[in-house]
């Protein structure tokens, strides 16, 4: 192992007090730690460390904390926009250089800003930030190339229904169609089908008005990305006074905080249906999280013994530890005789959720045009999720359902027994092959996060990867809102994982929204060797900003779908070189790297890396060596395990 110069002697567990207490010393320790990261144990590397400049953050990181300079009239268009974003509570900006007036103005307003290595990754970082905080984040890139680099990532955010503000510069209005100089592109058609709203701003005097259009869309109804592109004439325009801007007035006049409430008749009908049901279940999805309805959800569930199962791009709005939780009880799904889908923005089709033929459905959604799509309903309720759950909690009678609660407990136990069986098989396979089986990674991670000294609510996970996620999802738990960011949700992109981890880590580092109580704690990221290629360079961004994480990389030398290589002539397209050292890539980017091949090594490295992340703010990449054949059901059963949805294994819907 190449990291012994950087490991701590006391690699004990870390509590919240530890990392909060250590935060004061992080600056000095981290500087030393980062310098040390450049070191390696082999002779050449040691010589390099002595003779070559060490990796270190730029001195200018210090000026990041200089006094905020909010703009006042006279302002340019970019400053008007930035001030608007500040007033609307934009929580963070993730970007690459480009769109200069806008990103500079946003930074000047004091909105937390982060500059990374690719626009696409920064877009996903913003997406993940929202998924674990519920707040609006922005991403930005330069005109043609920077913007188009974000397309996959905007697609991910769109599928996840993330309130993502996509910003990009776009040459000049006067140069439209001319291809004068470089980077010209028609942006808005490119995001067609990937956004809720978009606009190329044309009239400088309407920049404030269109900012209102953007935030009206971001803050109401079902969220999705909003895309604004700024020609130079708009950002550079000068405004001496507010009167030069159209529709310049306070946010109470350009949008409303009012939400749709359920009709009393609908609530009466729902209460009646729940009353007739023996085994009711609420699917608590995306809208429950974004409407911050977790208290109302719990109140409704507990009042009437309604089971709760989660789905969606984030988890934890109902604790997996609650006796009414069905998120880790897949076998209970087929028993539900009434399902209330709340905020399930991405609707499954028949057969995709594991409910039985006798199940009746109520759907609660703020958008009436989506109710009844894909899954026929017995009752539709147009409402904000929080309002509907509060109304249900008020209207439902107190009722106990001991047999249902007992069945849920048995189903959870059966799932744990199955996971234990997979773990034991994984240990055997690991012992036989001297390589890490994914069940071992999932279970050991779970033991470390929830069964030892760490408070089980503490650590937020950015869940990514393809095959590895199928295992780790089975063992990862969520006990409070925003504890798991479900990376590959719906769009199925396996590449943004490191970027998702960065956005998640920034949210926790700044203690935003439900992450407040865990401010500064390290986060866990999960990715695969295929996915790493798409956003792995952001390890440098972790190091630059000293955002602490432990990223588990499942390295099986292949794309997860390698079994699709059906002929010998085709197989090479699915494979990588074997035993690649992604850990050394991490070291080269200023992070730590460890290469582990056995359960014992993984266990120790996890403890050590978390400790260093907590105490020094240093991120580690754990390169977990496996083999592609672990996905073969015939050779290493259960192979590629299937997902049962909804619940902890959900990622399609």
């Amino acid at each position: 192992m190449a990291n012994d110069t950087r490991t701590t002697k006391n690699a004990g567990t870390v509590t919240r007090r530890d990392f909060l207490g250590s935060s004061a010393s992080v600056g000095a320790a981290a500087a030393a730690g980062l310098v040390a990261q450049a070191a390696s144990t082999n002779a050449n590397a040691a010589a390099d460390a002595k003779s070559k400049p060490a990796i270190r953050p730029p001195d200018e990181m210090k000026t990041r904390d200089e006094a905020i300079k909010p703009a006042n009239f006279p302002m340019d268009g970019a400053q008007v926009f930035a001030k608007f974003c500040k007033d609307e509570g934009l929580a963070a900006l993730f970007c690459c250089p480009g769109n200069y007036p806008i990103i500079n103005a946003i930074a000047a307003e004091g909105i937390p800003t982060y500059g990374g290595r690719t626009e696409g990754s920064m877009c996903s970082a913003a997406d993940a930030f929202s998924r674990v905080t519920g707040e609006i984040a922005a991403c930005s890139g330069t005109e043609g190339p920077g913007f188009t680099n974000m397309i996959m990532n905007i697609g991910c955010a769109n599928a996840a229904r993330t309130p993502l503000l996509v910003l990009a510069s776009n040459m000049t209005i006067s140069g439209d169609d001319t291809e004068r100089r470089i980077q010209q592109a028609y942006q808005q058609p490119t995001t067609e089908g990937l956004k809720k709203y978009g606009k190329r701003l044309i009239d400088p005097s309407r920049i404030y008005e269109y900012s209102a259009y953007a935030f009206r869309q971001l803050k109401t109804g079902v969220p999705r990305p909003v895309h604004l592109d700024f020609p130079g004439e708009v950002t550079r325009a000068r405004f001496k006074e507010p009167g030069e801007l159209q529709f310049y007035y306070d946010k109470t006049r350009y949008r409303t905080e009012s939400k749709p409430h359920p009709s009393p008749a609908d609530i009466r009908k729902a209460v009646e249906m729940i009353g007739k049901a023996q085994r009711p279940m609420i699917v608590a999805s995306t809208g429950v999280f974004y409407s911050k309805a977790w208290d109302a959800l719990k109140a409704a569930a507990e009042k009437n013994d309604i089971a709760i199962v989660e789905s969606g791009p984030s988890r934890g709005h109902f604790s997996d530890g609650h006796p009414l939780s069905a998120s880790v009880a897949p076998d209970a799904m087929l028993s539900a005789d009434l399902v209330v889908l709340v905020g399930q923005y991405c609707m499954p089709s028949i057969g995709e959720f594991a409910f039985g033929p006798e199940t009746k459905y109520i759907r609660v959604d703020p958008d009436p045009t989506d109710i009844g799509r894909n899954l026929p309903i017995d009752l539709g309720i147009v409402s904000c999720e929080k309002a509907a759950l509060e109304a249900l909690a008020d209207a439902l009678p107190n009722r106990r359902r001991p047999q249902w609660v007992e069945e849920l407990a048995k189903a959870r136990k059966a799932f744990e027994a199955e996971n234990e069986e997979y773990y034991q098989l994984g240990l055997k396979y690991s012992k036989d092959t001297k390589l890490l089986h994914p069940a071992v990674i999932g279970r050991e991670l779970s033991d470390f996060l929830y069964a030892k000294d760490l408070p089980k609510e503490q650590t937020t996970i950015a869940m990514g990867g393809y095959g590895i996620a199928r295992y780790v999802r089975r063992y990862a738990r969520a006990f409070r809102p925003g504890q798991i960011c479900n990376g590959a949700y719906q769009y199925g992109a396996i590449g943004p994982d490191v970027a998702y981890t960065f956005g998640t880590a920034v949210a926790v580092q700044n203690g935003v929204g439900p992450q407040k109580a865990y401010k500064g704690a390290p986060v866990i990221g999960v990715t695969g060797d295929a996915g790493f290629a798409y956003s792995g360079m952001e390890l440098e961004t972790f190091s630059k900003y000293k955002v602490p994480a432990v990223i588990i990389l499942y390295n099986n030398n292949a794309w997860g779908v390698y079994t699709s290589g059906r002929s010998p002539r085709a197989m090479h397209m699915y494979l990588f070189q074997e035993n690649l050292r992604y850990d050394k890539v991490a070291e080269g980017l200023g992070a730590r790297g460890e290469y582990v091949t056995t359960p014992e090594e993984f266990r120790a490295a996890l403890v050590r890396s978390y400790d260093i992340a907590a105490k020094q703010g240093v991120t580690t990449l754990l390169n977990c060596q496996a083999k592609k054949e672990f996905w073969s059901q015939g050779t290493y059963p259960p192979g590629m395990v299937r997902n049962v949805e909804p619940g902890c294994m959900s990622y399609n819907h």
């Binding site: 028993s335 779908v561 299937r642």
Partner: protein, 170 residues
């Protein structure tokens, strides 16, 4: 309204039992449980084509005389006496267990006999329904299909589902 001649031609119990099965399955279709549902009835039998849990349509055949409801070629591509074949038989037999909650259990009152038949690697299930309540028996068949796809096949059969039921590999 059937003519008197038709009434005489069909034994009352047979007509009733077919109608009960058809009515029950049609009720699921009406509720939207199925995506597509077609029925072809003859004097003694009916055949149903149901598009439900996977893109591959289900074929259900009901013979009124024997009260035999067959889930035709429900699961293709299973070698006889293979581990999957054996596991399926154990799973199906286990659906009668009193250890299961009542709402998940196949009722012996409604399904008198349940046989798993593997012919040419195609597995069919034959359910002999109680003639007195074939409609309720048909509901039991639907419950069984649901358990097989949502429970049994949710186990270690990812590759099988990809091969045979158009499950996306990624």
């Amino acid at each position: 309204m059937p003519s008197k001649a038709v009434k005489r031609a069909r034994p009352r119990a047979s007509v009733g039992s077919i109608e009960a099965v058809t009515e029950q399955l049609r009720a699921y279709a009406t509720r939207g449980v199925f995506r597509e549902f077609t029925v072809k009835e003859s004097r003694q039998a009916a055949e149903y084509r149901i598009n439900w849990l996977t893109p591959r349509p289900l074929r259900v055949r009901f013979d009124a005389k024997s009260s035999l409801l067959t889930l035709v070629d429900l699961l293709p591509d299973i070698s006889p006496r293979s581990p999957m074949d054996l596991a399926l038989r154990v799973f199906v037999a286990g659906r009668f267990s009193t250890k299961l909650p009542e709402h998940r259990r196949i009722s012996k009152q409604l399904v008198r006999k349940l046989v798993v038949v593997n012919s040419n690697r195609k597995t069919s299930l034959r359910l002999t329904l109680n003639k007195k309540d074939t409609g309720a028996g048909a509901r039991q068949a639907l419950l069984l299909i649901s358990e097989i796809f949502q429970n049994f096949l949710a186990g270690p059969y990812h590759e099988y589902m990809v091969r045979n039921f158009d499950l996306r590999e990624d």
